[in-house]
């Protein structure tokens, strides 16, 4: 499996000592695997695939297997963490926007004008 350096155990070495990085095709494969896995997590209301690892593996067995086969383990960990981080970020943004809207509404009832 030349295009999957990590899946063969030992990473592929370049002739000058570097280590070959995933190319465009394998990156795309990895991202597709990730998207399918995350879609499955969404269907099953699982957010954190690291914390709820067992649950995720039970409900999305096929997806997680494909995801982990297509991406290196650091990437898998990175994407799982990023999913949680982005969820929290979006929640925070939504909360702030809601609070802002509420404040504006309250001020307007007191006769304040934004103009």
């Amino acid at each position: 499996m030349g295009w999957l350096p990590w899946s063969s155990g030992e990473p592929d070495k370049a002739s000058d000592g570097g280590r070959i990085a995933p190319d465009r095709t394998s990156r795309k494969r990895c991202w597709e695997g990730r998207d399918l896995f995350f879609a499955c997590l969404d269907r099953n209301d699982i957010l954190d695939a690291i914390k709820d690892d067992k649950e995720a593996r039970r409900k999305c067995a096929k997806e997680v297997e494909e995801f982990e086969a297509a991406c290196s383990s650091t990437w898998v960990k990175y994407f799982k963490e990023k999913r949680v981080m982005e969820y929290n970020r979006d929640q925070t943004i939504a909360r702030i926007q809601k609070e802002d809207a509420a404040t504006v509404k309250e001020l307007k009832t007191q006769g304040w004008n934004s103009k």
Binding site: W6, E10, P11, A14, S15, D16, G17, G18, R19, I20, A21, P22, D23, R24, R27, C30, W31, C71, S72, S73, T74, W75, Y78, F79
Partner: protein, 305 residues
């Protein structure tokens, strides 16, 4: 002489009615003489017999303020009427006024934008300014030494990354490729724009790996790598967070945190502006081209080769 001038003034004066017969000669001499000459030309060369006839009749009405000559009247009265009806204003004047105003407004807006860019561009010049970028020594993909001096004379576009980057770097490099093509097109490929990729992960990113990686994005990107210390130094010069582990075991897999900005550096190798995730290829290209064009307009040196 005096009387003939008076006659002439009655005859040929442009604003006949306003010219006083009693006006002093010194005041009237020159204009009348000039008019006289022109009218005598009219008389001398005119093919129309009416003109001389009228002059004759006007001569009889000596000292009258009549404007009997059709030669003079046609022109004089028309102009007079027009002047009296509109005063100094006419549609031409109005148009000129509006155009000048619009022109000034556009000019001031353009100038304001240019000065704002100049302010940004010169923010990192001079003493006591935050410094992004500085001397470094790395090597290019052919193993040749590449220093900060090699960036001078061109607008360089510096990006830090690593080939094992999961998702952000590939996205940003695709954007970089688009920007390169757009700038190249707009500058008619005059080679003043130098895109540079510096790896933060020299242990894994050897020249060969970098070459294969960058080729997938754009062949024009200059890849740079070096020793751990050299890369650490260049990251410090550019204020890039550097978290690469020093001693990695062979085969160990890891990620590198790094800054995800593009740094636009001017031909003096001074920092100009950051291009970040929020920029589209279009907006980034616009910013870059504006700075390049400002530089060219000011006639500052560029290395074109």
């Amino acid at each position: 002489m005096s009387s003939s001038l008076r006659i002439a003034s009655g005859l040929f004066g442009q604003a006949t009615r306003t010219i006083s017969v009693e006006s002093t000669q010194s005041q009237r001499f020159l204009p009348i003489l000039l008019r006289n000459t022109s009218r005598s030309q009219c008389r001398a060369y005119s093919q129309r017999p009416r003109c001389s006839q009228n002059i004759k009749s006007a001569l009889e009405l000596r000292n009258s303020f009549s404007t009997s000559s059709p030669c003079a009247r046609a022109k004089t009265m028309g102009q007079l009427k027009q002047r009296n009806s509109t005063g100094p204003f006419s549609w031409k004047a109005a148009l000129l006024f509006v155009l000048t105003g619009a022109g000034m407004m556009i000019y001031f807006r353009v100038e304001k934008a240019r000065l704002e860019r100049k302010r940004i561009a010169e923010m990192s010049k001079g003493v006591g300014k935050p410094k992004v970028g500085g001397p470094f020594t790395l090597k290019d993909l052919d193993g040749k030494e590449f220093t900060a001096e090699d960036l001078k004379g061109k607008y360089s576009f510096v990006y830090f990354g690593f080939t094992h980057c999961p998702d952000i770097c590939p996205d940003e490099l695709d954007k970089m490729a688009e920007i390169i093509d757009k700038v190249k097109e707009a500058t008619k490929d005059d080679k003043v724009f130098l895109p540079v990729f510096i790896t933060c992960d020299p242990a894994r990113d050897s020249p060969e790996v970098l070459r294969a990686y960058l080729k997938e994005f754009h062949p024009g990107i200059v890849g740079l790598t070096g020793t751990y210390e050299q890369v650490k130094n260049v990251c410090r010069q550019y204020r890039v967070y550097f978290s690469t582990p020093r001693d990695v075991k062979p085969g160990e897999d890891y990620l590198v945190d790094h800054s995800i900005y593009f740094y636009l550096m001017d031909p003096d190798n001074d920092f100009v502006e950051c291009i970040g995730r929020q920029d589209t290829p279009e907006s980034a290209t616009k910013v870059i081209l504006e700075h390049i064009n400002d530089w060219k307009r000011e006639g500052k040196p560029l290395k074109v080769e």
